[in-house]
Symmetry: C2
Subunit: 345 residues, 2 copies
């Protein structure tokens, strides 16, 4: 059996010397290396920015969506959207565990897991696309995938249904990072607060700012804002277009008496929301960009361009305990769980 690298570099076909994520093509042969885990895949949860792009390219047509997805995996060996660069995650059953992992992993054959590393670096083979649930970015397939030694995963909890757990775990980094970042008394703006990761961020933010803090939710559609309002996840709600930077700034200014947000968390899966985030935040505030549609140069040059001393952080999908933090929300807030089940599971 061949020996593999911890990070999966042995699977990189091109360009040589890179890691599987930045690689444009990786080997998706399903014969495992000694430190790999083979997964029998059940469901792909495609990253929201990626699936939005695929749906648009397909004009919403299911067969065309299938074709695009298969095309991506055929050309790259992984489901990494060439336009957005992003992936998603999957659930499946452990089928084989490489012998070099013995004693190193607590997984056993037959465990049902969600991989918490991105599909953008996960060797994947799609044999058949069984069902596309296009409203919740989930796609059932027959196929196999490989988890590298450095890959993170969560064994699916017994008290939360699979599809719900998958939806929550997909965005687990966002609420966990929010929990780490937000302090009592902060004014927090969540852009895209009515969305999948946004609602979890609102919940964590509200919990952390406490009675002296303020949480503002900005969402695009009136309907989704009404839903969040009914859940009481924020103190203020704005229905607005996050790409209209000056409007976002003015609305937040009104709500905060010109003081603006201490922390802005951007969860919107559309381009050109960097400036709105920057202008809505205090001069020395923090902006957490979780959206995979974020442009590095637009953010970096945008802040400089308006002379703002903003601390801009790139959303890291992983932080210690993120799966536990995110799943716990479903246990703590029954109303939110119901909405989540309705929308995403």
């Amino acid at each position: 059996m061949k020996k593999g690298c911890k990070f999966g570099t042995h699977r990189v076909i091109e360009p040589k010397g890179t890691l599987p994520q930045p690689a444009t093509k990786i080997d998706n042969n399903m014969e495992i290396y000694d430190n790999e885990i083979l997964i029998d895949v059940q469901t792909l949860n495609v990253d929201s920015a990626s699936f939005t792009q695929i749906k648009e390219e397909a004009g919403g047509d299911i067969e065309k969506i299938k074709e695009i997805m298969k095309g991506i995996v055929e050309s790259r060996g992984k489901h990494q959207n060439p336009v957005t660069g992003s992936g998603g995650m999957l659930i499946g059953t452990v089928e084989k565990i490489g012998p070099a992992l013995e004693g190193k992993t607590d997984l056993k054959v037959g465990d049902k897991i969600a991989t918490l590393v991105s599909l953008s670096l996960t060797p994947l083979r799609i044999d058949e696309i069984v069902e596309v649930r296009k409203d919740i970015d989930q796609v059932d397939i027959n196929g196999k995938a490989i988890l590298f030694e450095s890959g993170i995963y969560a064994v699916l909890p017994s008290d939360i249904p699979e599809n719900l757990a998958l939806s929550v775990l997909d965005v687990a980094g966002a609420p966990a990072q929010t929990a780490k970042l937000v302090k009592p008394g902060d004014t927090v703006l969540v852009i895209g607060g009515a969305g999948k990761s946004g609602m979890l961020c609102l919940y964590e933010a509200k919990k952390r700012v406490g009675v002296t803090g303020t949480v503002i939710c900005l969402g695009y559609s009136e309907k989704s804002i009404e839903r969040v309002k009914a859940l009481g996840l924020a103190d203020h709600y704005i229905v607005g277009d996050a790409t209209n930077a000056v409007d976002v700034m003015n609305r937040v200014s009104e709500l905060t008496d010109g003081k603006m947000a201490d922390i802005t968390i951007n969860n919107v899966n559309v381009p050109n929301t960097e400036m709105g985030s920057i202008l809505a935040t205090k001069d020395d505030g923090t902006i957490y960009f979780f959206s995979m549609a974020t442009s590095f140069t637009k953010a970096a040059l945008g802040a400089e361009g308006v002379g703002r001393d903003s601390n801009m952080i790139m959303g890291n999908g992983y932080t210690k305990g993120h799966a536990e933090i995110a799943l716990q929300i479903m246990r703590e807030n029954e109303e939110l769980r119901k909405v989540y089940e309705e929308l995403y599971a």
Copy 2:
């Protein structure tokens, strides 16, 4: 006289509702609005990532470089490289000041200034390209530019020659952010440490880590590393390829006995150095991405992909006092100033 928006939104042609930086086309008519400053431009200092791309596209040919630069400004109304998204800065003389700025600005007609906002949002007209100094990314032109009310600038100091000041101010954010970030005792890795912004970062890092800290410089070419070594800017030097993530990790591991860097500052103007930065940094360390070639998704998904809890910050070209901090280095370190004059002025 027409009234302008503080951020210059009145100049945006498309897409409407955005700010000048993300806009694909802005109005470069040189009749000023009431809150604008007209600048008679002398020199453009093109962003390093942008100029590298332009030089490559032109195959190094001066006339072709001129043609590409003129083409960019014709189509966008600003010098924003469509491939890298980045701009640069300029020096010139204040020619007109809008009446709405009276009492708000300390500038007067005739002042020689460097604009510290990016060319990627600055209305620019090029009448003639006089000289291309392709080794130092500087281009002398006849032309005009507009500074918006929110635009930052520095009046050029009398004790530092213009071209030297321009080169230093172009990268002023990097050493200033380094100064803010680095603490005594830290292990700091500067990737691209032998370059224009890298050397200034090394200098600030070395000053801040003190005797209990360690500064490591990674550069691509042996020659440039020799230069930095002669200046004594770091404690350790690595000649290596920053795109080879695993090699970078191993080399830093060796130098730090496996402890890795607390803070990594990435100044390299080539793509695909995100993973090297992540793997060279401690699990809970900070990575400051200053390179305009940074990909948001590669960094965000890359950290998640290897299960790293990294704090990844997007380089902000502006922070309070950045011009003063950067220029001061030229006064404090005569040897470094000499190298800077030789290479970039």
